[in-house]
Amino acid sequence: MSDAAALPDKPHKSAKPGTQRKRWRLLMAALGTLLALAFATVGLLQSRQYALLNATTHYQDDYLVWSLFQFEAEYLKLRLALEQAAGPSTAVDAEGVEQRYEIFVSRLGLLQDEHAVKILHAHPDYRRTLERCQAFVQWADLLPLNAELVRTRPQALHEVIARMDGMADAIRDLSLTASHSVATQVTERNDLVRQQNRQSIALTLLQCALILGLAGLVIHQLGRLARFGRAQRALAQSLQEARREVESGSRAKSMFLANMSHELRTPMHGLLGMLALLKDTQLSRPQQTQLQAASDSARHLLAVLNDILDVSKMEAGGIGIHAEPVHLPALLRELEELSWPQAIVKGLDLNIRMESDVPAWVSADPTRLRQILLNLLGNAIKFSERGRVALRLSHQHDALGRDLLRFEVSDTGIGMDAATQARLFQRSSADDASATAPRFGSAGLGLEISRSLARAMGGDIHASSQAGRGSVFSLELHLPECAPAPMLASSAPANGPPRRLKILVSEDHDTNRAFLEAVLQRLGHDAVFCENGLEALQRLKGEDFDLVLMDLHTPMMDGYQATRAMRALPAPKSTVKIIALSADAYAESRQRALAAGMDDFLAKPVGIDQLAQTLSRHGSSLTAQLPVPAPLDETKLAELRSHLPEGKVRQLYAGFVANLAVTRQALAQARGRRDSAALRATCHGLKGAAANLGLLLVSTPAEVLENTAHEDSDWAQIEQQIQDLLDALSRSEALCSERGLS
């Protein structure tokens, strides 16, 4: 399988993540620590830079240099003022000299303050010069050097000047020293700043590297995610492929089963047909019994094949539910007719009943519904040795309040224990096949199919049972009520032998050809046989036919191609009725056949009745000419006789005959007034009464008249039909007396 290739690396991958996650976590932790360290260092560096800046602001180094220059300037100004005052000029500003001195002293004060000392204390010049200046001020203050002195003792100023002269070089040196010292400090600070800058650049680089590392990791992780995503996608794809393969394998198996059953059904077709034909020949009593046994076995085999085909179709998803209006009373009647013979044989009472609140017409798939109910009824009859089998149809509501129809099949048979019930709807496995096969007949597939069908129709089947007391199977379906279907010829089957048709048959299988030949001959039709579609097409070109039976799978040209070619012929040949014959009963084949232009579809093996019905349906629609009805349906009579005592049966027919006078009167009245509604009502009643008694010679024309009598109908035709019906009434009267029924 394709996913096998993807699997081997899985354990390898699942072992890896543990160590990888550990390594990943370690790496993350290392990176985180590095990052934290880097941030701490940056913080420290910046706080140091900040402190440095603050220190600069505080010490005002540059300001000190300026102060020293000012001091020197004041020194020179004082000296100048003193020289002027000591000079010969009489205009002396004594106050000005005193102020100069005071300002000089204030400048000296600046050199003694705290931060000047801090910066310059290391220089011996500073201390020496400062001491000299202080000594000078002390000496001058003692003079005291003020306006008074200048005015009164100008000669004393010479000594002051002399003392000051000695200080000139020292003061200049001090100011130079200070500027050098400050320059050195500035250089040192600049170096420090540069160094810190270098450190911060290094830190920035480290941070860059860390961020790049992180980015690399992120990219790596994204890459891993992308790879993981790709691997996931690939895995999903391979899983999907595997599923497709498995599904197609399963489909192939189902197709194989369907084909096999199809292959088996083709010879069954021939076998059953030949057995049916053999029954009509002169046979001794033991031969008849043997033939009956062979026929039963063949039918059983066919039932098994049909079940297998159904199951395989369901598994291949080919089960289709085709809803159409279904007349429930008619369906139940049909079920009763089909089950009654089996029940009679076992001496069981068959009771089929429909509650009054059940709608007559519902939308359902009649074939599938019939299949389910026949299966349930068949099982009930099979497993009941005495007592009663009943089908009760009632109207219910489900838990959600929706309308629900419940078909309840109950029996008084052997019942089932809980274990059997539990695996009732499951396909028998090899182990318990022996236990259930005899119990449920055929391949034991009937209930499984029934339940699958019920579920496909949106419903379900439930069973309840007690060993020895009998079982109840309930089929519950949501079948919506619907309008009655327009009257179809098919809903009134077996209208007697249809008109003689000229039929072209395309069939390559010898046995089938022989079977069809015999059947068609028996049904009173003319048949022409071809072995493939091409031959049939040539034949149709040269001759007129009422109908073509077309096997879909023939050599040279298949049924689809032949049909398309026939439809392409000029009218009226293009309108010939074409009925498909096929051993594969898929809904798809049917649709394909209809799409190719065929009118109907018959699945092989084709039963005689089924073929007769189909031919009659299509044959009667070919022409307005009425088929000549068989006067009396013998099976109906036999059925009545089996249910009722002979006296009662005779009473029924006598009642019908007695009523004819009233009917005739009603018909005459409606005819005189040209009242189509009254005509339809009378015919409807008449049709029902006659049909119940199997009087086909009456029920058929009554039905025809009921269908054609309308306000806008051609009254001349209606007159003719009324006349036909009146004739039929007279004949039925004669028939009844002839048969001793009235």
């Binding site: 005002q60 500003d93 106050e95 204030s106």
Partner: protein, 163 residues
């Protein structure tokens, strides 16, 4: 008669006030401490007594020129300016030692700048950066502790010229 009387008054005035310098030197009376000139309504000459008569303001702050914090007392610069009715935007502060600095009038309005007369409640001698000292309250606002405001703190203040 009138002319005579005027002449006598003039001569007397000349005799009494031969020159401003002479007068300052001679008459020990109130010494001018601060002059306000330039774009003002009325030029004003303050003596110490007049400055002391204005509302006084005190704060203690550290300065680059003193070791440790000092208490400064004097009128607010804005009150001093108000007396002259200034009309300009900048103040040129002049010091005895010919130091000059420009102070925006806005500083006087925004900050409680004091024209300090007293340091630690004592008058300042010229040698102690007196007699007047423009001082900003450095300790009350970190934004003031930089060279700009240190340089605006003129000491040995003698005049304000409004520009």
């Amino acid at each position: 008669m009138k002319a005579w009387a005027l002449s006598v008054a003039l001569v007397t005035a000349l005799l009494l006030h031969p020159a401003p310098a002479a007068h300052a030197a001679d008459a020990p009376g109130p010494k001018p401490a601060l002059t306000i000139s330039g774009r003002v309504k009325t030029p004003v000459v303050f003596d110490m007594a007049r400055l002391a008569a204005l509302p006084q303001h005190s704060f203690t702050t550290r300065t680059p020129w003193h070791a440790g914090p000092r208490k400064f007392t004097g009128p607010l610069l804005r009150d001093v300016l108000a007396v002259a009715g200034i009309q300009g935007q900048t103040i040129e502060a002049m010091a005895l030692n010919d130091y000059k600095v420009t102070i925006p009038v806005e500083d006087a309005m925004r900050v409680d700048v004091v024209v300090a007369r007293l340091v630690d409640d004592k008058p300042m001698a010229v040698r102690d950066k007196g007699p007047l000292f423009i001082i900003y309250p450095f300790d009350s606002d970190e934004a003031l502790r930089n060279s700009i405001y240190y340089s605006r703190s003129a000491w040995q203040l003698k005049g304000l010229v409004i520009r």
